[in-house]
Structures are given as C-alpha cells and as structure tokens.
Amino acid sequence: MSEKVLEIRDLHVTFDTPSGPLEAVRGVDLDVSAGELLGVVGESGSGKSVSFLAAMGLLPARARVTGSVSLAGEQLIGASAKQMRSIRGRLLSMIFQDPLSALNPVHRIGDQISEMLRSHQDLSGREAEKRAIELLDIVGIPQPGDRARQYPHEFSGGMRQRVVIAIAIANNPKVLIADEPTTALDVTVQAQILEVIERVQERFGTAVVLITHDLGVIARVADRVNVMYAGRNVEQGTIESLFDHPSHPYTRGLLASLPRPGKQRLKPITGFPPNMLNPPSGCAFHTRCEFAADICKGEMPALVGFGDLQTACVRARDLPKNEIFL
C-alpha cells in the first residue's frame, strides 16, 4: 500500500433543518492513497458530496461536523478559516458538476488561472500568465494563448470543465476531488473530460476522488471504489474485486439493476431510499435488503475485511455466494 494522503475517520455531519436534525454523514472512514483514483458511488442523498464538502471546509456554518480528516498529516476538521484558505487550492482542490458556477463571468480565463497560481505561489504576473497557458494546454484547450484572453461565455460546457480542472490543478494539489464532473456533459464530451482527469493524475501523481452515480465511469477510470448508503461507507475495495464479487447486498443490488446487453428483465432494488431525518436503525439498508434478519436492526455494521474488499454487513459471511454478473 502506498502512502495515504487523505484519511477520514468517523466523520459525522449533521444539519439543523426545520424538520429537525438531519445526520447526512454518519461515521465515514475512508482513505485516499497518493496517486490513486478513488471512485465514490451511492444513490442521491447518500452523503457523497457532504462528506467531501466537510473535508474542504465548505459546508454552511450551521452544519455540525465531527471526526477527523487529515491531509498529509494536517488536521482539517476544526482548522481556522485562514488555514483552510491556505490549504484549498494548494493541497486539496474540488471541482463540481456545473463548471459555470466555478468561473467568474467577468474575468478572462487566463487571469482566473493566474490568480489561483499567485494566491499560493510567489510568481510574477508574466510567470503566472505563462504557466496559465501551459495549464490550458495540459487540459487540452487548443490555441491556449488566444483562449487565455477569452471569457467563460465564449467556451462550451466541456471546455469550461477543462478550465475548471486547470484552475484546480494549478498549484499541483495532493488531492483533487471531482464531484460529478461529467454528469452535465454529453457522453462524447464526458469521455474527453475523463481522459483529461486521467492524464492529469498520471502526469502529476495527483490523487483523485471521483464522485459519480455512474458505475460505468467508475469501471473505466477508478483504481478503488467506495460505496455509500445512507451516510455510511458500506463497501470499499479494488475495482476488480468490487465488480467481480461484490459482497454487500446493496452493491450486489446496484450492479444487478443495470441494463446489460440482451433482453433479460431488469432487477430493481425494492423499496425506496431512506428518509435521512429518520433513518432505519442498525443497517440502514435493512428495509430493502433481501437478506435482512433481526440482527441487522441492532447495531450499525462496521467495515470488515474480506480479502480485497471491506464490507459493512453483519451477515456478510452467511450470504449465499454471489453470482457472477458478466
């Protein structure tokens, strides 16, 4: 195992809402190793974004965050706003689904990259500008010199996402968190952006956390996967093990529900995602799990190792062997 750059331990995030406290993240443990591409999947509302927004210190003040997030040895939970500003963009960057909201409409593209560079590095204007153009080239923007002088509205959606990546990697962070970076893009453009992310990761050794609901995207680019359900990390492992022999019933259900070539009937996961204002006791998946037993309603299962996989299911050892899907 290579060096861990990001270690999340027992992370909890609670929002005060008009209907009462909502615990969106309920004890997440997760590691990101140097240079790896970690995929994070899970259904809508499972706490993917909130977990990493908490790590970035980007949640609203009314969110209560506890636990530990350490980045290359530095503790981020409880860090001052000033410390977080110095860390964001330098050690840890995050990009989002909608690239437009991340760009300033009235500033030239090149200036926005230069600004990010100069906020963390001692560079002259000329040096920063030169580096900005290099970065545009790295993320695959043709004629980067001319493009640097343009404004965001002159760029297409795919081009804007490239710019956002250029800004995020400008100071060569240790970890890049990409939250659904291709969801709003067409598939042919999505393929381009995934390639850019892989290229950046290889070239700079950046660790990447890719949050997505698309298991195909995970299968294409990830080294390891974390599966989230109801604010918990329910399974994690290498992509080979997770796709070949998923152990957690939710992961199994997720993979089985995907349409595959051929006309066999699809297998949905029964029931509905839990209401996080009042999540089911014990293993939150018990309301939908075909293997649920009384024991599942007791304590929240912790991650337990099975070879290349860690699974949070009290019955993991008793479950029937998983059928091979492909």
């Binding site: 259904e43 809508s44 297409s156 959606g157 795919g158 081009m159 067409d186 598939v187 042919t188 453009v189 999505q190 393929a191 381009q192 995934l194 390639e195 609901h213 698309d214 298991l215 195909g216 995207v217 995970i218 299968a219 294409r220 992509i239 080979e240 796709f243 259900g253 997720l254 993979l255 529900s257 995907l258 349409p259 595959r260 070539p261 006309k263 009937r265 699809l266 297998k267 949905p268 996961i269 029964t270 509905f272 995602p273 492909l326």
Partner: protein, 324 residues
C-alpha cells in the same frame, strides 16, 4: 402497412431566436429539427438518442402538436394531424400522451395525486366519477389506492414518475412519448420504472417513443433506434443492428463513448475520441452536419448532404463513407 401507428415525414422545426446585438436586434433561425422521417408500429418502441440539443424533445413536441412544426407531416392512425380540425385533433390527441423527465416539476404540488391522475379525463370531458379508474391506474403502476389522497411532496422520485405514467395512461393512449423518463432517477430505481414500461406495453399494447441519453437503457427497451445529430437522423434501424454494427461514424463514436459497468471490457476497449463539441444549430455545417468532428471527413462531405441509405446489416445511415 396496417401495423403502422405513426408516420413522420420530412419534419422540420425552426425556432426564431431574437438576439440583442448592441443596438441592432437580429433574428436568427435555430434549425432544431431538419427533415426527420420515421415510423412507429403498433406495440413497438422506438428509441430516440443523441446528444443534448440534437432535437429529440422537439420531435416529441411536434408529434403531439405541443408546438407547430415548420413543415412536414405527422400521420397518426392514418390521419394527417396538420389537416385536422380542432375537434378532430382533440379526439386524436387523447390517444397520444407524453411523460417528461422531471418527476418533480410535472405534478401540481397543490393537487392530490388522485386529482392529478384524473385531470386529463376531466379536461377531455370523460363523463362520470373517475375514482375507480384512478385506483385502477394507481395499481397498474405499482402504487396503492390510498395514495390517491396524498400530495406529490410525499413521494420519492421513482414514485412520482409512476404517478406521471398513471396520468398518461388515463385516456388509454396508443402512443406515449417518454422524454428522458428515468434520467432523474437513481439506477436502482430506474430498473423498476423500465420494467413498468415493459409490463404495461405487453399488457396494453401501446407504442412508445423513448427519448434518452442513456444508450444502455435504450438498448434494453427499444425495438428500433434512431440516432440524431444536430437536428437530423443520422442512423435508424433495428436496435440489434444499430448496436452491433453501427454504420454511421457518429453512432460508432457515441457507442464507444458510453462507459460500461465492467472494468475488464472498459479497459480493453478501443475508444473513438471525438474532438470538440457539437456545433451550433444556428449555423450548422454544410453537407454532412457531423463533418466538423468526423475523422473520416473528405471534401465531398462539406459539399453534398449524405442521404439515408440502407446498409448490409439492415439499418439506414446517412454517410458518404459508412463503417462496414
């Protein structure tokens, strides 16, 4: 041709766009749909795929006459919809329904589910009390009778989409246009809604036009597939033929870009990377509209528009240098 339910011929829809360009106001024409022709048989599903802005929704809206086509004809059960009088159109209109992508926006938050489902019957002047029909419809889509008294906010995305489907079924349509009906849903929930569409079709025999970005879902549900690019159909044919042996370069690139949930195939695949983005429909490229991104483009592609031509594997595609 007694099995043909819908026949669309040379459908064109241009939108006028007014742009403020300093002091001068200019008019621009968005060529959203250009010369689109296809037919849908009874009990069959036509998948309509293509990237954002390719004109899929506009085709669906023209068929239902939610917008007036610029030109071309739409025949439904042998009647040319363009030449019908208002009352005749109203009678046919009930046989065609549409279900939209967003299960949250498509229901009135202040109306009970029962009222939402019976609304089309009220609007169409179907006589009598509709409560039995509402219960029947709710059960048909996998919900229960007591849901009728509840309001949309009490339902999850998948449930709301089922309610939208129940509403569309109220008037026993022969054709339902499903515009991205599962895109907003989690994968594990999508599967149940897709199964519902299949079950309803085998029980009630209606036809679907299934519009989607997700090519794997379309492969699963469609009998025939039409691939659109910048307002035109570039390839159309049986689902098996189009997916197994795509003949238009765009179809081939699109299929190769779809991420498959299998690491081994994904990593072994030879992917075609298209460069750039889709050009603007205000000024589409001359000749073949795909030529600015096509790796096979030659001079002729800019000069002559390729026509849809039957290929050896049975489908039709519009390309001067088709893949074989």
């Amino acid at each position: 041709m007694s099995d043909e339910l819908l026949k669309v011929t040379n459908l064109v829809k241009n939108f006028e766009l007014r742009v403020n360009n300093g002091a001068r106001r200019k008019k621009r024409i968005v060529q959203a749909v250009t010369n689109v022709s296809f037919s849908v048989e009874k009990g069959q599903t036509l998948g309509l795929v293509g990237e954002s802005g390719s004109g899929k929704t506009t085709v669906g809206r023209c068929i239902l006459r939610l917008i007036e086509p610029t030109s071309g004809s739409v025949e439904f059960e042998g009647h040319d919809l363009g030449s019908l009088k208002f009352e005749e159109m109203r009678a046919l209109r009930r046989k065609m329904q549409i279900v939209f992508q967003d299960p949250f926006a498509s229901l009135d938050p202040k109306m009970t589910i029962g009222a939402s489902i019976s609304e089309p019957m009220v609007v169409q002047g179907v006589p009598g009390d509709h409560s039995d029909k509402v219960i029947e419809l709710l059960e048909l889509v996998g919900l229960s009778a007591d849901h009728a008294q509840r309001f949309p906010h009490e339902f999850s995305g998948g449930q709301r989409q089922r309610i939208g489907v129940a509403r569309a079924l109220a008037l026993n349509p022969a054709l339902i246009v499903l515009d991205e009906p599962v895109s907003a849903l989690d994968v594990s929930i999508q599967a149940g809604v897709v199964n519902l569409f299949e079950d309803l079709q085998s029980r009630l025999g209606m036809s679907y036009i299934f519009i989607a970005h997700d090519l794997s879902v379309v492969q699963h549900i469609a009998d025939r597939v039409a691939v659109m690019y910048l307002g035109k159909i570039v390839e159309i044919g049986d689902q098996e033929a189009v997916y197994a042996t795509p003949t238009h370069p765009y179809t081939k690139a699109l299929l190769s870009a779809v991420p498959l949930p299998d690491p081994k195939t994904e990593r072994a695949r030879n992917r075609i990377m298209l460069e750039g983005d889709v050009p603007s429909p205000v000024n589409p490229p001359s000749g073949c509209r795909f030529r600015t991104r096509c790796w096979k483009a030659q001079d002729v592609c800019g000069q002559e528009e390729p026509m849809l031509t039957v290929r050896p594997s049975g489908q039709m595609s519009a390309c001067h240098f088709p893949e074989s």
